[in-house]
Point group: C2
Chain length 193, copies 2
């Protein structure tokens, strides 16, 4: 799995990886592959599971650092950007998987995103933010937030991880996106929406 991630991190697309290639990168003989996975799709699914853990770690950190901050959005985006850098390969895999060729991997990632959105909704409820929104509308908002952040991922991954200036730009832009969404959510249904 590490070998596959490493190749993805080098710019290869997961769908184009072969068993021999992965085992070669892992420093192991091709047949060993079958001791762990039935095929590449299987490997992909297990990567999605690990991706889930990465995302949960990120959420935990965000909750810890953000609870009483007034710059909730800015902080959260910062944590996201930091994690995207630390776990670059995982996030690359995620970005690829959304339109990947394995339906199962696709669905897995989608499901991780849904989970993330629902946790975000819980947090906002708990913090008594967006109290005027119905459950459905809060859901809508969180879904939109998660999508926006996920799309920023593709921006983030398309620049060098050392290009602090560009990364800063993306962080600022993403923050403004979210601010605009929350302004919209704040006025939702109180006007002609």
């Amino acid at each position: 799995m590490g070998a596959a991630l490493a190749l993805v991190g080098k710019g290869r697309h997961f769908a184009s990886l072969g068993i021999r290639e992965v085992t070669r990168q892992a420093g192991v003989v091709p047949t060993s592959f079958y001791r762990h996975f039935r095929n590449m799709d299987d490997l992909g699914l297990q990567l999605v599971d690990e991706l889930g853990l990465v995302l949960r770690r990120m959420m935990r950190e965000a909750r810890a650092n953000v609870l009483q901050s007034d710059k909730l959005i800015e902080e959260s985006v910062g944590i996201f950007v930091a994690h995207a850098r630390t776990n670059r390969n995982f996030f690359m895999f995620m970005a690829q998987g959304l339109a990947g060729e394995s339906r199962a991997v696709q669905e897995g990632i989608r499901s991780e995103m849904r989970f993330f959105a629902s946790e975000l909704a819980n947090d906002l409820r708990r913090l008594r933010l967006m109290d005027h929104l119905s459950d459905a509308d809060l859901d809508l908002t969180c879904d939109l937030v998660v999508r926006t952040v996920a799309f920023s991922l593709t921006d983030l991954l398309s620049v060098s991880p050392d290009d602090d200036y560009q990364i800063g730009q993306i962080r600022k832009r993403t923050t403004r996106f979210l601010q605009m969404i929350f302004v919209g959510a704040g006025h939702w249904q109180s006007d002609g929406a």
Copy 2:
């Protein structure tokens, strides 16, 4: 190019396609490939160019059908969904390319999206909507809109093109996303954003 698109439409990822595979689908001998393209990346780039045309056609239709409608957002999303169905393979290619393995294709698609966003900004200016926004903020809004629609693409492409119910759901949800964004844009900078 048609053959490559057809394979993508069948669920394959562009990055995993080979020259022989494409020529086989095209009903032509492998060596013929080199008469038209230098390699698969080259083919990808030419597909991006054609994708540009598809998007422009869509924009033209949207402008024609939407000028004096009060349901501007709803109509536009409808046109988008319709085009996504008609040109399913092109849009699949687009969704894949955003996180694809050819940097050039990636940049090409990204650039098409920027163009689309800037045209949208022009239209909004012309229609005297969002008149209170600075150029930069209008840009921000349009970028966010285009991203949101692009992400909906992955939803759209993950369901069967004949599943009218699910497609309708996606259309409605996307519409609400955009409405929320525009509500946010409408109140932008007038409150604590």
